[in-house]
Chain length 158, copies 2
Amino acid sequence: MRRPLSPSDRRILRVLQGDGRITNAALAEKVGLAASPCLRRLKALEEDGVIEGYRAVVNRKALGFEVEAFVFIKLEQSEPGWRTRLVDRLKGYDEVIACHALAGEVDLIVHAVARDLDSFGEFTMNRLLTLPGVADVRSSFVLSAIKPLTPIPVPEHD
Amino acid sequence: MRRPLSPSDRRILRVLQGDGRITNAALAEKVGLAASPCLRRLKALEEDGVIEGYRAVVNRKALGFEVEAFVFIKLEQSEPGWRTRLVDRLKGYDEVIACHALAGEVDLIVHAVARDLDSFGEFTMNRLLTLPGVADVRSSFVLSAIKPLTPIPVPEHD
DNA sequence: AGTGAAATGACCATAAT
DNA sequence: ATTATGGTCATTTCACT
């Protein structure tokens, strides 16, 4: 079991989701703690897996990825082993920046990036449609990021 | 236009997507630079908007959000003004951790979290379905995060 | 390379259980 | 007493010029 989050923990999480690279000293000042206890709490949050990591958010277009899309995949009913292998292959593709298994019509939702339409076409045609166990693939291009991955709100209480 | 990314820049981006909180000294060592030029490049990448920010990745369940879902929204054809207001309302909801406008069948894809089924129901019934201009809403719960938001691959060359 | 700031660990204080 | 909180100080390491 995990210990409950203190009000200080919650403040730390709020600040750190907005600026993951803030110095511990500045963080401590923002949340109203001295540096030392602030750092102790931060380490504990990492240790407990509340904070899973820190990540620089990089502009995909600056890396030359002009195309962003969601791909909706339906699977054929098949033995569990096949499903595992399919999912492992999917995870291995660089184009896949996120993938979730869903309950409902669609079985898998893939968030993908590609350099251009051609390479996205190559990806779907040669590397998605050919996966054994895939029944249906349809792609929708992203027109705009209305709310591009924001912090998870940190409730006041548990 | 933006200046092209040097091999050092690319290495910096790779490391920082994996650990956004690494110290400049350690980063410099990893990418094979002295601390000073490494810091200059880092600042330039931030300045140029290649790095958009830094963010702690927080475990949603640790915050008490047991439910994660994708919501697929179809819109009625309507005047542009309505659409803007709808999107602004959508952005304002805490449950919405990401939202993208799509080309195709579905107009909007919403990535949402909620404390439990009840509060997710309240969210969709009272705050999504009632938005003026919404024609259809369907939700799929996330069963598992097969690949939970990974770094964008940094190509060797432009 | 040098200086001011930050990180980090050892140790202490207070309060609630 | 124990657990959880936060603080102070001294030392090492880092950021930045």
